[in-house]
């Protein structure tokens, strides 16, 4: 057998060079980031609120990475836009899991998208955190991979109803709600609560999101003379509803709006004086009594030039929860992460986070929702008494008696 020829000098040099580059490279690139997928709405009618969510996520990301990240690696958020549509959310989850290979997913904005995306994540065994989607169904499917930070829509209903029962003491109410999952699910909860407490539900009217003219419906409601008019809407519809309620001179004892569209700066701006005296509830307000709450609000205001909505507080807390769970799990393995999430007991600016199973809900954080009233153009917390910074006004002055624009 012929003795092996020594490698030609050029080839030898190149091989050594290549090998050394491959060996050194990982340390040149730095530690690989932990990737978390985020689904939110960046285009379409809910875009302003989706971007509020994104701001919350970004702020938390900055804070965590500034302190060295998680498990010695930086955190990275991979954003997907669902365009406010369910199909968009499903595509987003599939892309995040299949192509982007994220270790966990957070999202979305609308209940409809969240519900669908959660289902897909659950089928694929990836931890899914819901920061904002309210419809009860999201955590009533027995999904072991889906966790929810915010209070479900039945709490929108029950917290507002409790506040109403203890202050306004209505004997009747009328409901007008948008027809997707959020509206329908919340309306159902309101009806159940009313029935349990002997309040007569005179009318339940649903409308298609994006409708331009609510006057016929509002007239119908006016005819039934309810003590309370309870609305469940996203922001654009909420603005038109209040304007048109003024136009048809609908005067219940008080108007109640179930969070979402009613609790945003866009609503105040669009509805103007017509928003005055509206009762609404929220997942969080900047004057919430939790450690870090005021600092978060100030930081947000400084960075983005406007006050944070509760959506931003929710997304901020979500990142904190994930970071905390990753640290306790010590790994990015989905099953370990899920188990760590189950053990969460964390205080955040949004409030305390602990996932529990109760009343048919799984992995649901028992979050309390304060009730606000719009007084002199500002949101004032009026219920429960322990959170309240102002007094609830009821009955509200009829439209004709209010100061004209």
């Amino acid at each position: 057998m012929r003795a092996m020829k020594p490698l030609p000098p050029k080839l030898f040099v190149w091989t050594v060079l290549l090998l050394s580059i491959l060996l050194i490279a990982p340390s040149l690139w730095g530690a690989e980031p932990i990737r978390i997928g985020v689904i939110t709405t960046l285009t379409g009618p809910e875009a302003p609120l989706g971007s509020a969510q994104k701001n919350g996520y970004d702020l938390a990301l900055k804070a965590i990475n500034a302190k060295g990240g998680v498990l010695g690696r930086p955190l990275e958020l991979v954003y997907e836009d669902d365009g406010g549509k369910t199909q968009g959310a499903i595509s987003a989850v599939e892309s995040l899991i299949g192509r982007q290979k994220v270790v966990a997913i957070s999202g979305a904005y609308t209940s409809q998208s969240t519900f669908s995306a959660g289902g897909v994540a659950n089928r694929n065994g990836i931890p899914f955190l819901c920061p904002t989607g309210a419809s009860d169904e999201i955590t009533r499917q027995g999904f072991e991979w889906v966790f929810r930070i915010n209070a479900p829509s039945s709490v929108y209903a029950s917290s507002m109803m409790e506040a109403l029962r203890r202050t306004v003491q209505p004997k009747s109410l009328a409901i007008i709600h948008e027809s997707t999952l959020f509206g329908s699910s919340t309306a159902k909860s309101i009806q159940e609560d009313a029935k349990k407490n002997g309040i007569e539900v005179r009318l339940v009217e649903q409308y298609e999101k994006g409708a331009a003219d609510f006057k016929p419906t509002l007239l119908k409601i006016k005819g039934s003379q309810p003590d309370v008019v309870f609305m469940v809407s996203y922001v654009q519809d909420a603005i038109l509803l209040m304007r048109q309620a003024h136009e048809v001179d609908l005067n219940p004892k008080v108007f109640a709006g179930a969070g979402a569209g009613f609790t945003t700066p866009e609503f105040l701006q669009g509805a103007g004086r017509d928003a005055e005296y509206l009762l609404t509830n929220t997942q969080w307000a900047p004057d919430a009594p939790f450690p870090g709450s005021k600092e978060f609000a100030a930081d947000y205001q400084k960075t983005y030039g406007r006050p944070p909505t509760y959506h931003a507080a929710e997304s901020y807390a979500t990142v904190l929860v994930l970071a905390d769970a990753l640290r306790r799990a010590g790994a990015t393995d989905p099953a370990k992460l899920r188990d760590a999430l189950n053990q969460t007991d964390l205080m955040t600016p949004f409030g305390p986070i602990k996932f529990e199973n109760y009343d048919g809900f799984t992995h649901q954080n028992r979050h309390a929702m304060p009730v606000l009233q719009i007084l002199k153009g500002q949101y004032v917390t009026v219920w429960p008494p322990s959170f309240a910074t102002g007094k609830l006004i009821s009955p509200i002055p009829p439209w004709k008696e209010r100061a004209q624009k």
Binding site: P45, Y207, P216, G223, I239, D249, A271, G272
Partner: protein, 291 residues
Amino acid sequence: MSPVLIFVQTLLSGLLTGGLYVQIGIGLSLIFGVMRIINFAHGELMLVGMYLSYALFTIFGIDPFLSLIIVAPVLFFVGAAIERIFIQPVSRAKEENQILLTVGLSLIISNGFLLLFGADYRNVTTSYSGSVFYLGPISLSLPMSLSFLVTLVMTVSLYLFLMKSWTGRAIRATAEDREAAMLIGIDARRMGLIAFGIGTALVGVAGSLLDPIYYIFPGAGGPFTLKAFVVTVLGGMGSITGAMAGGLLLGVAESLGAVYLSSGYKDAIGLLLFLGVLLVKPSGLFGRSRL
């Protein structure tokens, strides 16, 4: 509120909404009557008016009702340009191709606005956006009532133009029988151009009128194209008086349907009425080609 008052209020509310539908649909009726072209971009042309008014309001502080003076002529030229550049070359092509063209136009326009203005919903909130005035116990929206007046003026002017002026009569002649009109020396192509321009100006004005009471976003055109079609076909394609009747009828039907039947299906009620009329009188309420 007594049942009678509720009925009257609902009726008046429906009439005001109907006025808007008339403003939106009348342009389509005119265009179809003269050129027999089904313009799927009609709602997007309204969008041009909406955004133009929005821009004039936001940048120069011009009230949407006042900016009509600018919007109408601008939209006339936009319509004429579209007709000359896109529609005329396919005027002798198959109907399917013409439709495809207008669908393509609608996509380009709405996505163009998506690029320019983003997907955010815009609001034009004027001092009177939510204002009402009262006729006894009946409350009427101030901006919608003003819009109704504007529509009334524009529709009557259109009617007089078509009946009395030479160009108007030439347009009607072209609509009635294109070849005969050409035989007696009418430039049919020019009439088509003018009709398209007027139709676009009318729907652009509708956009401005909608600004204070609705919201503006790139997808706003679609549903209104549908309304325009219903109005046009309901009234009889090509009939101006028909479009007026059709629009008001649609508005009232939706309003009454929402109060007495079901709010969630209010749009369906309008469409059911539309189907019903067509079953009984296929050429529409007022027949066709009688501008």
